[in-house]
């Protein structure tokens, strides 16, 4: 279950688009997941063959749970320790929970105790660190550290030292024998966090340099105790941190036993509303609690941009026309190149800039609520492409079908409340992002220039930014850059 936004704790698999045996390619939509905020199409990040659907339709699981298994598609590798399996890879099943209960992927004869790390579905996610040695294995703190660093499970090692103690050579040998495990690149912080929280690094998709697992990836894979309890109570919990390639044991009858019958549509609508309000409230409260916001504002002369847009639209058929928010979006994305402290994520009080610029666009939902999916590579897209993306994105946000990548990776957000007629908007930053740019209504205002007073279309641009990542001086430069870019609309 991918994290589709900082405010997401769990998700419901509402539909599988693939089934075991199907071939999938990176970018394919394999499942539809419902969160508190929206319905999201989940894309897959691997090529391969769907081997197994782990979570049935209708079941709710915490972020980080394995949804399905995808393998290279060679029968020989479908063994116990098959390497190179992709976790969090969704897939069809069109099975009601009740039916899934009768057809568990792992039949009853699969000995539960043999599946290391796996727990019956009714148990809470395991809390023990995976490298903690079981009783009987003699180790030292140094050896445990080495094992943790190399991603070796000490309980699988037969010690060759005195009295059966595990030596460093044993651990390093095991690491060589299990290249799939040892090849998980990870940061020291991520390894420490993984050891503390019981998350298996191998089951985490790395988003750091070269695909390395970094701290935030591990955090995304950690359930809060609350979630664990809740989901366990619903008897749909998947064990967290199940090692790759280890079959997940499920007690037949437990899966979907929590009565996940879909509520009536009207009821679901009301629930969705309440859940969305709750999710927004929780995220914004976290933002205001954790992020030391500072706010800046500047008024931008929009006469050139307005004139340019009017002229551009004269030559365009109605289907190709641009709207002002597209220019504002592009100017913001380009300004990031000059002040990179505005674009990226705050991870454990440290700012990690993002090289890609995916501008989140705040879209208000008419039934209440707001959602801010990303327009990918905003800085490198042409205005026409941005217009098409924006129309598509707003439409899908409103009808409630967004893609996983759109929800999970905005690097900075733009909110444009101008259509509602307000002059200025001072936004609340979406954690873990560090900046939000707000645009008010483009309206005619008195404007003094070169000793003359005139009337020009203007917009108030505001910046809410995280003081941990930047200071007001840099924020001011950022807003000035947006202003300057909007004075040359033809260059956008």
């Amino acid at each position: 279950m991918p994290s589709l936004g900082a405010d997401m704790d769990s998700g419901i698999v509402s539909r599988w688009m693939v089934k075991p045996g199907d071939e999938v390619h990176r970018g394919d939509i394999v499942a539809v997941v419902e969160t508190e905020k929206s319905t999201i199409e989940v894309e897959i990040f691997e090529n391969g063959i769907v081997e197994e659907i782990v979570v049935p339709e209708g079941a709710e699981v915490p972020v980080g749970s394995v949804l399905a298994r995808v393998g290279p598609g060679e029968a020989a590798t479908v063994g116990a320790r098959a390497p190179a399996r992709a976790e969090a890879a969704p897939v069809e099943a069109a099975r009601a929970p009740a039916k899934a209960a009768r057809a568990p992927a792992i039949p009853a004869q699969a000995p539960v105790e043999a599946a290391s790390g796996a727990l019956p579905a009714t148990a809470a996610p395991p809390q023990r660190p995976p490298t903690l040695p079981p009783k009987g294995v003699i180790t030292s703190p140094v050896i445990r550290h080495v094992a943790r660093t190399l991603g070796v499970d000490l309980s699988t090692i037969v010690g060759s030292g005195a009295g059966g103690a595990v030596t460093r050579a044993d651990v390093e040998g095991a690491a060589r024998v299990a290249p799939a495990r040892a090849s998980v690149r990870s940061s020291p912080l991520a390894r420490r966090l993984a050891a503390e929280t019981g998350v298996d690094l191998a089951s985490v998709k790395g988003t750091g340099p070269g695909g390395a697992v970094v701290e935030r990836d591990v955090r995304l894979g950690v359930p809060s105790p609350q979630e664990g309890d809740r989901v366990a109570a619903a008897a749909t919990a998947m064990p967290m941190g199940t090692p790759m390639g280890t079959p997940t044991a499920m007690a037949p009858g437990d899966v979907g036993g929590g009565g996940n019958e879909p509520a009536s549509t009207a009821e679901a609508g009301v629930d969705r509303q309440a859940a969305l309000r709750h999710a927004i409230g929780a995220l914004m409260a976290r933002s205001k609690r954790e992020i030391p916001h500072y706010y800046l504002s500047t008024t931008i002369d929009m006469s050139r941009a307005s004139a340019w847009l009017e002229r551009a639209n004269l030559d365009r058929p109605v289907t190709k026309r641009l709207v002002m928010p597209v220019l504002l979006l592009k100017a913001t994305a380009l300004a990031v190149a000059q002040v990179p402290e505005m674009n990226g994520f705050m991870v454990a009080d440290r700012f990690e800039p993002s090289r890609a610029v995916h501008v989140g666009v705040a879209v208000s939902l008419r039934s209440g609520g707001v959602i801010a999916p990303a327009v990918h590579d905003t800085d490198r897209s042409s205005l026409d492409d941005l217009m098409a993306s924006l129309r598509d994105l707003v439409g899908r946000a409103r009808t409630g079908v967004l893609r996983s990548s759109e929800m999970s990776d905005p690097t900075i957000t733009v909110t444009n409340l101008g259509d509602l007629g307000v002059e200025a908007v001072f936004g609340v930053i979406y954690p873990p992002q560090v900046a939000l740019v707000g645009f008010g209504r483009v309206a005619e205002r008195p404007w003094a220039s070169e000793g003359m007073l005139g009337v020009r279309p203007c917009v108030v641009a505001t910046l809410s930014a995280d003081h941990r990542a930047s200071d007001g001086h840099r924020g001011g430069i950022f807003l000035s850059a947006i202003d300057r870019l909007l004075q040359e609309p033809g260059e956008l």
């Binding site: 058929p317 289907t319 129309r391 439409g395 009808t399």
Partner: protein
């Protein structure tokens, strides 16, 4: 195009653009953007929808003539 045909098209397109909006609540003289909470992209989608269904070219400077259902009907009926 008759007024009734135009009204049909307008209702269909509005429903596509704002599926959650209750069109019955919108009076013929009410401003659509306010009554249905349409932003600039919604409105563009509305204009595109009208164009695709009727073939009527709607230049940007005519947008102010499409602010109510009544005006939209009159505009489409006059255009074709």
């Amino acid at each position: 195009m008759t007024d009734d045909e135009a009204l049909d098209v307008i209702r269909t397109v509005l429903h596509e653009v704002a599926p959650e909006a209750d069109l019955a609540q919108v009076g013929p003289g009410e401003t659509l953007q306010e009554a249905l909470d349409l932003d600039s992209i919604d409105f563009l989608n509305f204009v595109v929808g009208l164009h695709e269904r009727t073939g009527v070219e709607i230049p940007e400077h005519d947008y102010p003539r499409l602010s109510t259902v009544q005006e939209c009907v009159a505009y489409l009926a006059a255009a074709g």
